[in-house]
């Protein structure tokens, strides 16, 4: 008699239960991590939504009455022009304090915006012009309902008088919200409404370029030598142990090393992406070497043997047959190292890439900051509107990261297609 059912014995019920338990535990783990992921990206996205648009106010400014010399636009006092334009719209404002509040409706950048518009279009001179200027972050927050007007007046950033002005402006159609390209094309600023991410993005790009061009060739070279040519003895064992340990050294230590050697001893440029990239390269080298060695080790030795038996020199055998097969894995390791470097803040703080950078860096020798440092700086700023900037900067960082991984995947697929 043969029994093929669950009741056949063999302790089947218990064994199947154990299996079910384990599978459910696994599903639960995945669900939990997914929930965390959704929660995290969701909250970042919601926070960042405010950055998508910026608020503008239309102000009628008087550009005729001899206040601006067409031959020398930059010398004109656009701040005063802007202020008188605002006063003209609200003639009832009289006290110094109220006037200051009125001026604060427009971003401090407003006077520069008038200057730029006049410079780009001199035809504006010679009449009263209505120009769209960026509004202050407080006005922007108020319009989006982020300021609780039920609080007592002295505990909020928008006073009752300002609320009336804003409503008046709104009724006159003098307030609009436009796409905030400035965030992607501008540099940092003390004013959240005009602060942009591009200077930090460029700083990160420059640093990573330096980091990659140093750590990839050196790392791959070291890995090839250690794996394929170095004699296996106590010294090479020692080197291997040290490389593995270096991969686990806290990154700030590399920052200190960069500070004392690159800046202190070699006297390289402080705050520059060059030094930042060099420090990041030190940090990523162990990762790249370890990944590259593992990748080389996984290449079947038969390719190398076949090449050697044909009379290839060891270097030819490695470079013609082992390296192409190991390359996709090496690239993966390098990209992982680069991703680490992209998100690294501590070593950059040590070498002064924490600077307040308004202008876009033009070369790797100019002071710059990096994306994670920018996030850190904004998260540290007291203005409420910087919270949104922080979230948006995190998204930019994530997109950068995803783009890097995408390139790595494409590159790997392309290399792997060669048989």
């Amino acid at each position: 008699m043969i029994n093929l059912t669950k009741q056949a014995g063999f302790d089947l019920a218990r064994r199947h239960r154990a299996e079910q338990r384990f599978q459910w535990a696994g599903r639960l783990a995945i669900l939990t991590s997914l929930a965390f992921l959704v929660f995290m990206t969701g909250s970042i996205l919601i926070d960042a939504a405010g950055v998508v648009r910026r608020t503008q106010i239309a102000v009628a400014v008087d550009l005729k009455s001899g206040l601006v010399d067409p031959a020398d636009i930059t010398s004109a006092s656009f701040g005063a022009i802007l202020k008188s334009g605002l006063r003209a719209q609200f003639p009832e404002v009289s006290t110094r304090r109220q006037k200051k509040k009125l001026y604060n409706l427009v971003s401090p950048e407003g006077s520069f915006e008038i200057k730029r518009q006049v410079r780009d279009d001199p035809a504006l001179l010679g009449g009263v012009q209505t120009l769209w200027l960026t509004a202050s972050d407080d006005l922007d927050l108020y319009l989006r309902g982020k300021i609780d007007t039920s609080l007592p007046e002295n505990r909020r950033r928008i006073s009752n008088a300002e609320v009336t002005w804003i409503e008046e402006l709104q009724q006159a159609g003098q307030i609009r919200r436009v796409l905030n390209w400035g965030f992607l094309t501008g540099g940092d600023s003390r004013e959240p409404e005009i602060a942009g991410i591009l200077s930090a993005l460029i700083g990160s790009l420059f640093s990573l370029a330096v980091c990659f061009s140093l750590s990839f060739p050196i790392g791959i070279g070291a890995a090839i030598y250690l794996e394929e040519f170095a004699p296996k003895n106590r010294i090479s064992d020692l080197i291997e142990v040290n490389i593995n340990n270096l991969a686990a050294v806290p990154s700030i230590v590399f920052g200190l090393l960069g500070l004392s050697i690159f800046l202190g001893y070699m006297g390289l440029l402080r705050s520059s992406p060059l030094v930042g990239g060099m420090v990041l390269a030190l940090m990523t080298l162990p990762t790249i070497i370890i990944a590259a060695r593992a990748s080389l080790r996984s290449v079947p030795p038969s390719f190398k043997e076949a090449a050697l038996a044909l009379g290839a020199t060891p270097v030819q055998a490695v470079f013609h047959h082992v390296l192409p097969v190991a390359m996709p894995g090496m690239l993966t390791g390098a990209i992982i190292g680069m991703a680490q470097a992209l998100g690294e803040t501590a070593p950059l703080l040590m070498i002064g890439m924490v600077a307040f950078i308004v202008d876009l860096p033009q070369s790797i020798l100019e002071p710059a900051t990096a994306l994670p440092v920018q996030i850190f700086l904004w998260a540290d700023s007291p203005e409420r509107a910087f919270t949104e900037k922080t979230a948006a900067a995190i998204i930019v960082l994530l997109i950068f990261l995803i783009a890097m991984n995408l390139i790595a995947i494409l590159l790997r697929r392309k290399l792997e297609q060669r048989f």
């Binding site: 038969s302 043997e305 076949a306 050697l308 038996a309 009379g311 290839a312 060669r418």
Partner: protein, 253 residues
Amino acid sequence: MTRPFIAARGMNVFYGDKQALFDIDLDIEANKVTALIGPSGCGKSTFLRTINRMNDLIANCRFDGSLQIGGQQVYDTAVDVVALRAQVGMVFQKPNPFPKSIFDNVAYGLKIHGLASSKSELQDRVEWSLKSAGLWDEIANRLDQPGNSLSGGQQQRLCIARTIAVQPKVILMDEPCSALDPIATAVIEDLIDSLREDYSIVIVTHSMHQAARISQRTAFFHLGRLIEAGDTTQMFTTPREEQTQNYITGRTG
């Protein structure tokens, strides 16, 4: 009797402390197929790999004694292993084409040694090699396909074509048919027989029948020692040693 092309005298090979070959004296003649037979671990593969110094890749392998090819010492400081291996080719147990196209597999040796001065010469020599290896008719129209897309037997013939492309004097074969089915084996055996005219071939094999079919000379190894060497017909009909007799009749092994 012809002068031996490869001559081993008092050859000892060690892997660290372990001795793999003991005092081998063996002559291998030109333009003949010499089969090395014996049970696993008897040292026949070690002997084969000393001829083109592939054993150099093993860190603690040590050679002692004399091994000459064409009157020149193989283990001599003046010897360049690259030159040695260019003239003593090798075919491995498992087919190991490079992960490149069929054409590039054969062309590789020609390229690194600079044996083809022009593209058309390269093509001619690749074609000649593939024809000599009896593979041309099967793959002539798909030279750009990867080498490992071929069947096992075809891959092994590709490896033979790759080896003969650089026109070595000697071809070493380490159980070239052990991973192949009988039909592919028969094709390779025919090929080996036809290559004998131009090359000296040393082949390690586990198959007595294969040794009997394709070789003119046979050497029987046991536990690192050369028990007996001689003409294949004589070895398989009237072996001098009892150990040989037992092995080839399948009583021990």
